[in-house]
Symmetry: C2
Subunit: 272 residues, 2 copies
């Protein structure tokens, strides 16, 4: 592990960590920020993404050493005092550890789907623009053994800092790809033998009765407008039965119930 | 509807709305703040809580009139410009409508349980101190027809502004009570014939196989430490099976799955 002491917040070597919040808004040219020990643990354990550098509080270094030591020797680990950390980040960074990752080339949706197992479980997100929801859905996808998440281009970037954090690192673990057009995606998944269910409050099949052999794609839309009508007409639809008078479920909660339901049938869930 | 124009942010009549965020931290002496149209809709429709006053942006008044008109004539509706609204609230209040409610007397846990139906479904929260999680659990409780939520005193106040907002008003709808001691509560619920399940990653029964006739209490603990060991030893335990290698589920997501599972058995959920 190559630790480098930094005392000047303006040091060029830590410029990628400067003003984290402001830079969330303008993007990072092929990079992302991972924060916190649990997220860094997933990042370094799964090795899906290359890590460019790490910034850690001096008094946290011992605690994160086993995580950071998984990285190649060539990755610099910048060590700072609490004051320098806060001045670099631009706010009080109590988490004490940050890393810059490289996005690399994202696969196309068809390319990713071609790599999946025969009993694949895939979540398809349409218009999920809220970072909390995308992060939570990734967390649920990891918890229930989904093999991939496919997102349309109006959905939030899974590598946005907050989405990664809310996902507890699952956004760095579960493979994902973007698609342009839901109808085109549905065609492609059809061709590959996927059963496709669109989740909707007015869906035809109760999720508890939905059956599926082979690969499955589960479509989730926004809470307000839901999935586009054309998609609901084209796919099988499933609903989560709710109590009368308050039929409002957060899309992340809906994803938990639906992924759990299909994880059961696809035997994806561990029985421990 | 008694509308009163306010032009001075310091006007005493709107003092209850002053500096909303700061006052979240110090409490409100028997009052709570409800914000946004959807939450106000629940507040005025359920009538569980008395409303003291309403503050609304002038250009939103027409849109919320049907909601506000449910209130007694005596409740003042203060109407303000966007600038005055922001200066009263202390930040940009894009939601445009706020109300002050009175907490009134909370029932004790035993008192509340005595009013519940024979097939009652009750969520019991132990140490859930995060506002988002408590709000989300209330939302799920409402969605799946839970009859009450019981919280220990280390759990977050359901009438905290953010918890109400995240619950989409469910915290104003689903009856709740506080309890001091989980062991004492479990005794009381035993006496009343409740089946009691504690949810835990190492629970004995898969939640999909958990059966229950009659009233049911579902215990939820924190994500990190989980429920106290003494409680896990005393109650039946249920688990949500997860994929190996990422057995991390947010407690609100867990509540969605478990309440949905038991809503099924108790036939609480609508079949529409």
């Amino acid at each position: 592990m190559q630790t480098i002491r930094i005392d000047d917040p303006q040091d060029e070597r830590v410029s990628a960590f400067l003003d984290i919040r402001e830079r969330d808004l303008v993007g990072r040219q092929g990079r992302f920020v991972a924060e916190g020990k649990v997220v860094l643990d997933v990042l370094t354990a799964t090795r899906r993404f290359e890590v460019e550098s790490v910034l850690v509080l001096e008094n946290r270094l011992a605690g994160v050493r086993p995580i950071v030591e998984r990285l190649p020797q060539s990755v610099p680990v910048y060590v700072v005092s609490a004051e320098v950390m806060d001045r670099i980040a631009g706010f009080h960074m109590h988490r004490g550890i940050l890393a810059i990752g490289r996005r690399g080339e994202l696969p196309g949706a068809a390319e990713l789907v071609a790599t999946l197992p025969r009993e694949a479980l895939v979540a398809v997100l349409v218009g999920i623009s809220n970072h909390d929801n995308v992060g939570s859905i990734f967390r649920n996808a990891a918890a229930f053994g989904a093999d991939a998440v496919l997102l349309d281009r109006t959905s939030c970037d899974p590598l946005y800092r907050k989405a990664i954090r809310v996902s507890v690192g699952a956004a760095l673990k579960v493979p994902f790809a973007l698609f342009d057009d839901a109808a085109g995606l549905a065609d492609m998944l059809d061709t590959r033998g996927f059963t496709q269910f669109a989740l909707s409050p007015r869906g035809k099949t109760d999720i508890r009765d939905a059956r599926c052999d082979g690969p499955l794609a589960l479509y989730l839309g926004t809470e307000g407008e839901g999935l586009p009508q054309a998609l609901l007409e084209r796919l099988q639809t499933a609903r989560i039965a709710m109590a009368p008078g308050f039929d409002s479920l957060n899309v992340a909660a809906a994803s938990a119930i639906a992924l759990h339901a299909f994880a059961r049938k696809a035997q994806q869930a561990g029985e421990g």
